[in-house]
Amino acid sequence: MFEELKRRLFRWQSDGIAPLKLSQRRIYILPTRAGLLFAVMLLAMLTGAINYNLALGHALVFLLFGLAMSGLVHTFRNLYGLSIAPGRCIPCYAGEQAIFPLLLANDSDRPRPTLRLRANKANEAAQCSLAPHETRSVQIGIQATHRGWLALPRVRLETVYPLGLFVAWSYLQPEMRVLVYPRPEITPLPPEAAIHAAGEYRGDVGQEDFSGFRPRQPADPLRHVAWKASARLGGSDTLLVKQFSGGAASDLCLDWLATPDHASAEQRIAWLAGWVVAAAAERRRFSLRLPGHEIPTDEGDGQMHRCLEALALFEP
């Protein structure tokens, strides 16, 4: 069984552009609640037709039975031969919906209306209709709760078209995963002073030009607190941190060690992710230093994604 599963997964991985074609082995079909109601109604009608000796009543019951049978075949046909290929997944942040695009390709001459895809019961089903020879991307959203790789669970693809008396379904298990970045905790960038490694060639520029105070954020180490200024606020809970300007042009080194070490690892990763996002938003050049892993200084979206990926997969 494991071998079988692996083979299937392997096919998905190795042959990404070759779509999976739904064959009769993968399609299951059962009556729906409406179908059961229909069956009960047919029995009642048959009883009536026999009791009142209605010849055409018999014919009507038999015609409706045939209708259900032909509806069954058409429901089956709505899935049969449908091609499904995994699409390209885009990373997301924890707390967001991870989007898994599946490419549904209809290469037959008839439409395939109302196909519903659902990863699990809790999630809302995605629905789509395919015109003849149409390919469409259907996005399955799954709530991303933790950073790291999020694999697409088993997807149920179902349809009740055309009569709603039968539901045909198939389970898809494409090897698809989305990288979930840590949820960034937006916090001001750390003062340059905390970034010792960056000072090698830039010096402590920026740290000299005092520009004012700002309220302390949890990511600021206690030793940066301006105690006197804070005391002047008169016993309120807010602590102030000195803010320095002039760092705009300088390189940042976002260091694991610069985050308060009493915080949990996940919290520290969240702060680092927040810094990465903020630094990228300010178009700064920055590097990321994690225990045992370092991403050299660079800038732009590419650098941001590299750093976020490192944070997503970092195991402290």
């Binding site: 209605l54 058409h74 089956f76 009569l163």
Partner: protein, 652 residues
């Protein structure tokens, strides 16, 4: 609270479909149900329609519950029950309208459509003819289209949806045929039918008043249809016996309770087999051809030779019967029966009695008296008419001596009166006489207008002998039928008055079609099923064989339909197909092409890897690109020729 399996809301555009389906299934009942049901259903429909137009929410729950209670109460008041045929139909119609009112989710719509399918069945209570069948087929297609629409999304256009529904119905037909032929037929009701199951029918009754048969003769309705294996006998020998009336009270003739044993018959001509399909008349008589031969065990033969069945005939039914046209009936008759058939009310019709008495004095032989009476009718200035003058207190005297105009019942009853008065046991026999051969399907059609009354007299050593005085007055009535017998201007119904034009031909065809429908579709019953099965090679199939056969047939059909669905290949672009053949041949020779590779890129590789193919493949690429992207219609022949020039197998 949200239900776990909550159904999606119904799209705005789906409502008209559900509405149309409900209308198509309830509207035909408007003619049969009480006016208030129609009015109530119509106002609910209107309310539902307005609600949809304003896109308002359905009425609150308590109001709906109140409406349901009101509907049930009203039906209960009208019919005194909630079950039974008519009450059930009225309830279904009203619930169907109520369902529209609370239409909100897809599940509601499915329930409404299911109700509609059920309502279709109830239309067959009223009629099972060809027009009903076609009308209901259309309604069923509409309901199916509604189902497709509510499950297929609002993008489906109306016409393709209807067409698809029709395709589904057509695919259902083979299943229907197989089940119709092979499903074990259970005859008779499963439980006692309610009182209202069968409404009153027209036809003969067990008494005869002046004018009662004339009234019946005004109807062109079909009473029964007969098929003889060969040529039907002469028209004037076709006497279909109904009730025999042996008591006269001065005005009406009535049937008395049977007396005497089973009839003693001596047949003087061979049996003539025939098959009769009798329309329901609500009585027990079979209207068999005189004299009935051996009858199946579940039929009876009264002491007056009337063939009967156990239960009143409430369904159209087919009987296999036989008759002997020459026969002697009760040569030895019970004394009491003979006396009973001499009874006349005292002190009535003195003139007629005097005439009969004079015959008895002058003519000792009863046969002579009969001839004398017939001669009186033939030469006494009597006329045959549907609209005879009214008769007074002494009806026989009035008729015989002054008005002299009458219909068959006048002649028959006057003749029987004269016979009894002259001492010959005699009685009135009612039934049908004649019939019209439909040249299309060779069925002999007997209508209500063929209703007839004749006389029967008992003669020693001969038994009961039929005497038809009408035949003397109007030989055309017996020889050709009522249309020929009646003078112009008589108020006959249009249906039977068609004398000889194309309308008559149309009527023959239409009736033949209806008859075929009745015989082969509606009349398919247990016997026909057994007959079919034995011809298929299952001589004595019980329900177990039948079920197995049915399952096998259904499974075969299902596999056929499924195979059709699975094996259907999409139509491919011919240009693409030819190009794929070319690629396939390349692959055989070792040049694999990637899906993203352009034809020209592939050509470059072929030139490098398989140079001997390059000239042929250059032409293929050129023709392919021209067909695919060039102006004008694709030149398939050029591409086909180019592909054909590619070597089939690997060439060295």
């Amino acid at each position: 609270m949200k239900f776990r399996n909550s159904s999606p809301p119904l799209a705005y555009g789906d409502f008209p479909w559900v509405f149309a389906g409900a209308l198509a299934t309830t509207l035909p009942h408007a003619g049969h149900q009480p006016l208030w049901v129609t009015a109530m259903a119509a106002s609910l429909f209107l309310w539902a329609f307005l609600r949809w137009q304003k896109q308002a929410a359905p009425p609150v729950r308590w109001l709906l519950v109140a409406l349901v209670v009101a509907v049930c109460g009203a039906v209960l008041l009208q019919y005194r029950t909630l079950f039974g045929r008519d009450a059930g139909v009225a309830l279904l119609v009203l619930f169907s309208a109520l369902k529209l009112l609370e239409l909100k989710t897809r599940r509601d719509a499915v329930a409404a459509v299911t109700l509609g399918y059920f309502l279709l069945l109830t239309h067959y209570f009223d009629a099972q003819g060809i027009p009903t069948a076609i009308g209901l087929l259309v309604a069923a297609t509409l309901l199916t289209a509604t189902l497709i629409r509510i499950h297929g999304g609002p993008l489906l256009k109306p016409l393709p949806t209807l067409r698809f529904a029709a395709v589904l119905m057509v695919q259902a037909v083979p299943f229907m045929l197989v089940l119709y032929l092979l499903f074990p037929r259970i005859s008779g009701p499963l439980w006692g039918l309610p009182q209202d199951a069968h409404a009153g029918r027209s036809g003969l009754s067990d008494q005869m008043a002046p004018g009662s048969i004339a009234n019946l003769a005004m109807s062109g309705e079909i009473a029964f249809r007969v098929r003889f294996p060969g040529r039907p006998p002469e028209r004037n020998r076709l006497y279909w016996r109904g009730p025999v009336l042996d008591s006269y009270d001065g005005k009406n003739w009535r049937a008395l309770p049977p007396m005497g044993g089973a009839p003693q018959l001596t047949f003087r001509s061979p049996a003539l087999a025939y098959e009769s399909t009798v329309e329901p008349h609500g009585r027990r008589w079979l209207l068999a051809l005189d004299a009935p031969g051996a009858l199946p065990s579940n039929f009876g033969l009264s002491s007056t030779l009337t063939a009967t069945i156990r239960e009143p005939l409430i369904q159209r039914q087919r009987f296999s019967l036989s008759a002997h046209l020459e026969y002697a009936f009760n040569v030895e008759e019970d004394q009491r029966v003979r006396e009973r058939n001499l009874q006349l009310p005292a002190r009535t019709n003195p003139q007629a009695r005097a005439l009969a008495e004079s015959w008895r004095q002058a003519l000792p032989d009863p046969a002579q008296r009969i001839d004398k009476a017939l001669a009186l009718f033939a030469n006494g200035g009597f006329a045959y008419t549907l609209t005879p003058p009214l008769l007074g207190e002494q009806p026989m005297d009035d008729f015989l001596f002054s008005t002299k105009r009458g219909f068959c019942e006048h002649f028959a009853s006057a003749f029987v009166f004269l016979m009894r008065a002259s001492g010959i046991p005699a009685r009135v026999v009612t039934g049908y006489q004649g019939g019209e051969l439909n040249p299309v399907d060779k069925f002999l059609v007997v209508r209500q207008s063929d209703a007839h009354a004749w006389a029967e007299v008992w003669l020693a050593e001969k038994g009961w002998v039929r005497v038809d005085p009408t035949a003397v007055v109007s030989p055309e009535r017996i020889g050709e039928g009522i249309t020929a017998a009646l003078p112009e201007g008589e108020p006959l119904p249009a249906a039977i008055q068609l004398r000889s034009d194309w309308l008559r031909d149309v009527r023959f065809r239409w009736e033949a079609m209806n008859n075929a429908w009745n015989q082969y579709v509606l009349g398919y019953n247990t016997e026909r099923q057994r007959d079919l099965l034995s011809r298929m090679g299952f001589p004595d199939a019980d329900w177990r064989n039948l079920a197995a056969l049915l399952a096998a047939a259904c499974a075969t059909l299902f596999i056929l339909v499924a195979a059709w669905a699975v094996l259907q290949r999409p139509r491919r672009d011919p240009v693409q197909r030819l190009w794929d053949i070319a690629l396939h041949r390349l692959r055989r020779s070792g040049v694999n092409s990637a899906p993203w590779e352009t034809p020209n890129h592939l050509l470059n590789r072929v030139e490098a890897e398989l140079p001997q193919w390059a000239p042929a493949f250059t032409e293929v690429v050129s023709a392919y690109l021209d067909a695919r992207y060039g102006p004008g219609p694709a030149d398939l022949n050029r591409l086909r020729a180019a592909v054909a020039r590619l070597p089939r197998w690997r060439t060295l």
